[in-house]
Amino acid sequence: MSKAEKIEEILERYSYLDSKSLIPILQDIQSELGSLNEEAIVLVGQRLNLPTSKIYGLATFYNQFKFEPKGKNHICLCNGTSCRLKGAKWNMVYLEENLKLKNGQTTRNGQFSLEVVTCMGACDHGPVISINEEYYREVDPEKLKHIINDLTQE
């Protein structure tokens, strides 16, 4: 199925196509395609009778929506207060310095993408990160280096 067809299929699921269903539609599209793109915005705009600027403005407002495809390994890094106190910052610095990876970005080779999130409720063993739903606790740059290395070698 082409992207456009997939989007059409998602739109079919909604009985009311108005701006109220915009967020759920974009969420569905993103979980289907991994990220949003121009094509999706234009299609949704046509069907919902909304200017694309409004859709783009909305999507860029919220953390969830991304216009860059997710990397093969999607890193969720907790920067909640607790993890931060325990050094989540240095993990972010590590990723930025070594993978040139900042919040919301994907590395050029598509291997890693980073999403900075808030508390996951596991603060005791912070800093916490998850990579593709696999959790790692008490992560420091040293440990992160190993995790990343292991993943790159796979």
Partner: protein
């Protein structure tokens, strides 16, 4: 996590239980069933695994798999049930086991590798006391020897678990269990005995105030919405939980979703809302799953939908997944988000209670506020008002983390001193020195040791310059740099501000710059830079006041709080950063000053070669030294040195 209730069970609840809920007395057939649902007597072992967002990170799902594997391998017949959280997050995964004739006993830190030995023991009537933490009290079963009862543990004893009474005990995915523990009887009672107006009155009398941070009188807010003449009203449950360090609402939903649903139905009934919406962040997958399941079950047994319990009142509940923005916790922004727009707050008045979603009166309440309603209806306003203080009734749920000895989730009666929070968390981790208790996240304040006697109270705390916030609490030890902490919050605010109004958008940005400036080593000592820092710090207080005075919404108005309080309580730390260029906690990396230990240095020249500012001098094979004025504190030398000779102060 499949739902626990079978079709047959749901049908039984629907036909035999729900129509008679308001009587509260049951034929034996039903009360037997309830007893079974409460697992009062079990015929085969029952294993309860606490599965919540926090325990999943700790590996609860793997533990559960290991348990199932074990049962499979040894062909043991046992039920495995998912339950919520007791609040002892540090000890997760927690697994409880109940074997016939014995009390239910809880084991902590049950990692998959421990599953075998624990189950081997307990299924054969033997317990290693070091793994077990408590057992449940029971009249009819034989207790385990040497294991404390749950209500004897100081952790539980010091709490007043009104809202959390089911948490960790029942299966969150079962409406049958919730009803067996007395659930939905408040709803039945209200619908039978009270009018909309009565419930508003009861809630007003109870003195309940909103738990979302604003501490509005819930009854009064409802009344306002009721007074608008219209046929359409909405109730919104604010489950966006946007405090970056809190997890109160999430664990509540995950541990006892039906209580929240019951609260929502009751409150909707009270404001005669035609629709209720739950706004919950898309990322909170487990919570969403649980609450959605609870709603479906409630529909299935006739507690939601058309003509609830024959009252003529109909209600639909929808779950809306918030795409993630802190400011969407603010009422008007939340409404914008539900309308499919950018979550930018709008001016008040008009207040949502008068002109909210789709222009209709809309009541927005926090999860915890709503969860209070069933208890208030069941036990009456006087019962509720007996807990707490003059202006703050009932209990408050907190999540405590940071450098706490144990990360936990607790419920305390208003009026208890803040110190209790620290006690429940077991003090500071690893025996380090206590520095402060931070309440209320990015718009909250850090409380010092001598302020810990302040009572948890909506009115008294502000009088002492403290705000309670929504329940997220962080214990801070002396490795925390206050400048860095407030900088973190300001960074959060400047990214999470919606950007609409000047004071918040530009003010937070500017404040962040100022803080960043003082936690950075200036390129040079003279001229522009020093002046900048100096001017900036003078500006902080003016900025804070203007932000509070002119920002459109609560986010901007409260954002300067952490800074103002820290400037007051930890002024010396700020001054050290500004004048001495020192960070005593060594968190502000740029302010560290590096030294070379003469004893250890072998004069290998490695560090001198790497230093980006050529600050390291010496002769090969004898000790090197760092020229302080040149050092920018990057730390490369320390990373380079193979002999551990570089250290910082």
């Amino acid at each position: 996590m499949a739902r626990c209730d079978s079709k047959a069970e749901l049908a039984f609840i629907k036909d035999a239980v729900v129509p008679n809920l308001h009587y509260g007395v049951w034929p034996t057939e039903v009360s037997d069933k309830f007893s079974a649902l409460r697992h009062e007597r079990v015929r085969q072992p029952v294993i309860y695994v606490g599965v919540t967002t926090s325990s999943i990170v700790a590996g609860a799902l793997k533990t559960k798999m290991a348990i199932e594997q074990y049962l499979d391998d040894y062909a043991v017949d046992a039920d495995v049930i998912c339950v919520g959280s007791h609040g002892l997050c540090s000890l997760e995964p927690i697994v409880e086991v109940q074997i016939p004739g014995k009390t239910r006993v809880a084991f902590t830190n049950v990692t998959p590798d421990r599953v075998n030995s624990i189950l081997d023991g307990v299924l054969n009537g033997f317990i290693q006391p070091e793994y077990a933490i408590f057992q449940y009290h029971s009249e009819i079963h034989e207790p385990w020897h040497g294991i404390p009862f749950k209500n004897e543990l100081p952790f539980f004893k010091r709490q007043n678990r009104l809202l959390l009474k089911n948490a960790g005990i029942l299966c969150p995915d079962s409406i049958a269990e919730y009803i067996a523990y007395g659930g939905y009887s408040a709803l039945a009672k209200a619908i039978r005995e009270y009018t909309f107006d009565d419930i508003c009155r009861i809630v007003e009398e109870s003195g309940l105030r909103g738990r979302g941070g604003g501490a509005f009188h819930t009854g009064a807010k409802w009344r306002k919405a009721l007074q608008v003449a219209t046929s359409d009203r909405y109730l919104i449950c604010n489950a966006d939980e946007s405090d970056p360090g809190g997890f109160m609402d999430r664990l509540l939903i995950e541990s006892d979703p039906h209580k929240v649903v019951e609260g929502i139905i009751l409150s909707s009934y009270a404001v005669s809302a035609s629709k209720a919406l739950i706004y919950i962040r898309d990322r909170y997958k487990v919570s969403i799953q649980r609450i959605q399941n609870a709603i479906e079950q409630a529909y299935e047994v006739g507690l939601l939908g058309y003509d609830i319990l024959g009252s003529g009142y109909s209600l639909d509940v929808e779950v809306h997944k918030g795409p993630g923005a802190y400011v969407c916790g603010e009422e008007t922004a939340l409404i914008k988000s539900l309308e499919g727009k950018r979550g930018m707050p709008t001016i008040k008045p008009p207040y949502p209670a008068e002109f909210g979603l789709n222009g209709k009166p809309t009541v927005i309440n926090n999860v915890e506020t709503l969860a209070n309603i069933p208890e208030i209806i069941s036990n009456g306003p006087q019962w509720f008002a007996a807990f707490g203080t003059e202006g703050s009734k009932g209990t408050k749920i907190f999540s405590i983390n940071g450098h706490a000895s144990q990360t936990c989730w607790v419920e305390l009666t208003f009026g208890e001193p803040l110190a209790t929070l620290l006690d429940l968390a077991g003090g500071v981790k690893d025996g380090r020195t206590f520095k402060a208790l931070h309440l209320g996240g990015p718009s909250g304040v850090s409380v010092t040791a001598d302020e810990l006697d302040a009572p948890i109270d909506f009115d008294e705390l502000p009088r002492r310059g403290i705000s309670l916030g929504s329940g997220g609490v962080q214990v801070l030890d002396n490795t925390v740099c206050m400048v860095d902490l407030v900088k973190y919050f300001m960074h959060f605010i400047r990214n999470e501000s919606c950007g609409k109004c000047i004071p918040c958008r530009e003010g937070s940005n500017r404040m962040y710059q100022i803080l960043d400036n003082i936690s950075k080593r200036p390129v040079s000592n003279e001229g522009h830079n020093t002046l900048e820092r100096f001017k900036g710090v003078i500006q902080l207080e003016t900025l804070a006041e203007v932000m509070r005075d002119t920002s459109l919404c609560g986010l901007g108005q409260t954002a300067p709080k952490p800074i103002l309080k820290a400037l007051k309580s930890f002024r010396d730390e700020f001054e050290e950063h500004i004048f001495d260029r020192k960070c005593r906690a060594s968190v502000c990396r740029d302010l560290r000053t590096f030294y070379i230990d003469i004893e250890r240095c072998k004069g290998c020249t490695a560090c001198a070669k790497k230093c980006p500012t050529q600050a390291i001098y010496g002769t090969p094979r004898s000790s090197y030294f760092i020229v302080e004025e040149r050092c920018i504190g990057c730390g490369i030398c320390q990373d380079t040195c193979k002999f551990g000779a570089v250290f910082f102060k």
